[in-house]
């Protein structure tokens, strides 16, 4: 083939293909507004009591729960909960479990397996070694979507995202396909937090690339839930598990998990404009994120963040925390010992003598002052409220445990429902009254701990 002919041919093909791709992706622009508050007020909210429930789990491990408000799907009083459960994270017996929760009574259906690795293998015609991170949500047209990550080779960093849609009974799945998000064998894309819904029935799904530098992407879907295009929203490194919420019909806010100890663990917030087409530079917050999933949510009272705040607890805070856990500690026979300042002696002995789930996490930090106790990063799950542009105020403790992590939120007035992994053995769902969220009374929250 002559060079001139080759040059003309590739030029013509590239221009023609670019036009064709561009017309399909509609200039890689999102042309639909964000759907604002999709929550429906609970009609039978007789009780305004805060309450919680631990979902029965037949497996040793349960993790990474996600909830979907089914109000948009015509089941106003129900929440769908999904999570992965098995003998251990990444094991072959891990399944995606589903349960329906009644918003009023917090009663729930027995968890049912809706997907496992064999089923995903059959759906996708690919060898799947493990499954995880289920994400479920209802779109503006009432359809309920499920995304899961599946791994064929290696660890989570080689995951691919698989897309499903629930059939109207909300129990059976229809496989939509594997999301093609990357150039390198489509490896290492994961999903964790729910999307921002679009008015046209589409959605903007936050996903992340976990191999090497780890970065955040927004995937835009059309009204038929087909992937249109992806946008890399910033040039920050080592950012994972973005959580995005709509501020109004055209702007949004995105919070990201910090991987490893990047930037001294300082978490970033990023604002989008023009329905996700324009992204401002990320700004530093006063929040430290120690490589744990966080979630943003919005109520009529403001913008909130649930985040694991690894922290150094001083003696005063510890004492105040102990008072709030008095009942549990008495039950464990530890309260008097702690009040009599025997805790330090106990801590100086073998750490593993503390099998009790509240205290096993308290470790004395020998490098620091003797009165400082170091709490592992995922031991406390806290609620923060956004006060200024990037400043959050810590307002409450949601849970203290060996591990309380991977929060998910559904706002359904007058409540906010929060699900999270409890010691990675169970999923706990907590219902809090939106009006009481700003209360800084730690006792009331720990009261809801029980």
């Amino acid at each position: 083939m002559k060079f001139n002919a080759f040059l003309i041919a590739i030029l013509a093909l590239i221009v023609a293909t670019s036009f064709k791709i561009d017309s399909r992706k509609n200039h890689s622009l999102n042309d639909s507004n964000f759907l604002l508050d999709s929550s429906v007020e609970i009609k039978k909210a007789e009780s305004k009591m805060e309450s919680s429930v631990i979902i029965d789990n037949d497996f040793y491990m349960a993790h990474a729960s996600q909830m979907a408000d089914l109000a948009l799907s015509g089941r106003d009083n129900e929440i769908m909960l999904v999570y992965f459960a098995g003998s251990r994270e990444g094991e072959e017996d891990v399944v995606i479990s589903q349960s329906f929760i009644d918003k009023t009574t917090l009663s729930y259906t027995a968890p049912k397996t809706i997907l496992n690795r064999e089923m995903l293998s059959n759906f996708s015609n690919k060898f799947i070694r493990k499954v995880g991170n289920p994400l479920v949500f209802s779109d503006a047209l009432g359809r309920v979507h499920l995304f899961v990550v599946g791994v064929s080779l290696g660890g989570w960093a080689t995951s691919k995202i698989y897309q499903f849609e629930f059939l109207p009974d909300l129990e059976q799945l229809m496989f939509k396909g594997e999301l093609h998000l990357g150039a390198f064998a489509n490896l290492s894309h994961l999903v964790r937090n729910p999307p921002i819904l679009l008015e046209n029935g589409g959605f903007m799904l936050p996903v992340y690339y976990e191999l090497a530098n780890k970065y955040v992407l927004m995937a835009f879907f059309d009204e038929n839930a087909n992937l249109r295009f992806t946008k890399k929203v910033n040039e920050l490194d080592l950012q994972l598990q973005p959580s995005a919420i709509a501020l109004d019909s055209s702007s949004c806010l995105n919070f990201m998990r910090v991987s490893k100890n990047e930037n001294d663990n300082i978490a970033f917030l990023q604002k989008c404009l023009d329905s996700g087409n324009t992204w401002e530079e990320p700004i530093k917050t006063n929040i430290k994120n120690f490589d744990s999933a966080g979630v943003l949510f919005k109520t009529k009272n403001g913008i909130y963040l649930i985040n694991n705040d690894g922290f150094d607890l001083d003696k005063k805070e510890l004492d105040s925390g102990l008072e709030s856990l008095k009942d549990e500690l008495i039950g464990a026979g530890l309260y008097e010992k702690i009040k009599n300042k025997e805790l330090e002696d106990l801590l100086n002995k073998k750490e593993n003598m503390f099998n009790f789930n509240v205290f096993s996490f308290i470790k004395k930090d020998t490098k620091k002052d003797t009165n400082i106790y170091s709490i592992p990063n995922r031991a406390r799950l806290s609620l923060f409220k956004l006060e200024q542009d990037s400043n959050f105020k810590r307002i409450n403790t949601i849970q203290i445990a060996n591990e309380a992590s991977y929060p998910s939120v559904v706002v359904s007035y007058p409540f906010v429902f929060i699900s999270y992994s409890l010691n990675k053995n169970n999923i706990k769902v907590k219902r809090l009254n939106i009006e009481n969220l700003d209360s800084s009374n730690i006792d009331s929250i720990n009261g809801a701990n029980k």
Partner: protein, 189 residues
């Protein structure tokens, strides 16, 4: 999946080609290898193409066309060979593209708009075409795939991990050959 089957077949042909055997034995070896890749791997219900597809996704159209070209070359002895420089260009561009994609080098080309992607694809295709006359038609063929199926982006029609890794190995072998030749020459001098 078809792409993965063709790549697997290419591997069989390439392995057979490594051995200097009589034609009859070559075909026996080829037949054995082709049967082997079609059978499920021991204690694993998937065969080689299925495993390749699960792990590394579909190969790029250029990679598939090149594999077909090599397979045809196996039977047609006087067919023109692909110039080595083409693989050097693929290895270099692939390295730059994947490093960029992984977030190590500048803003992402893959996640940018079609103009930037098109520009990169054009420079890439042009560079290969400049150093390899025999690759020109294959590149046009690969771009036709992308034109017919917009799900395959322009860049992904020209490069994939299979082709890039193959090109890197090819360059490595070329490098070793060059060094050993240079050493022999210096010994002779």
């Amino acid at each position: 999946m078809i792409g993965s089957i063709i790549v697997s077949m290419f591997i069989c042909f390439a392995i057979t080609d490594l051995f200097k055997l009589e034609k009859k034995f070559k075909f026996i070896l080829l037949f054995i290898l082709l049967v082997a890749i079609a059978l499920p791997i021991y204690r694993f219900s998937y065969n080689v193409p299925e495993v390749l597809y699960a792990f590394f996704d579909s190969p790029s159209p250029l990679c598939v066309i090149l594999c077909i070209y090599f397979i045809v070359n196996f039977f047609v002895e006087k067919a023109p060979k692909i110039e080595s420089n083409a693989f050097v260009v693929i290895a270099i561009f692939g390295f730059l593209f994947y490093i960029n994609y992984m977030g190590f080098l500048g803003p992402s080309i893959y996640h940018s708009n079609v103009v930037i992607q098109g520009l990169f694809a054009f420079i890439f295709a042009l560079s290969i075409g400049l150093v390899s006359k025999n690759m020109r038609l294959l590149i046009v063929g690969a771009l036709c795939f992308s034109a017919l199926n917009p799900q395959i982006s322009l860049i992904e029609s020209l490069i994939c991990p299979y082709l890039w890794i193959f090109s890197c190995f090819y360059c490595l072998i070329l490098g070793f050959k060059f060094i050993s030749k240079s050493m022999q020459r210096s010994k002779n001098v």
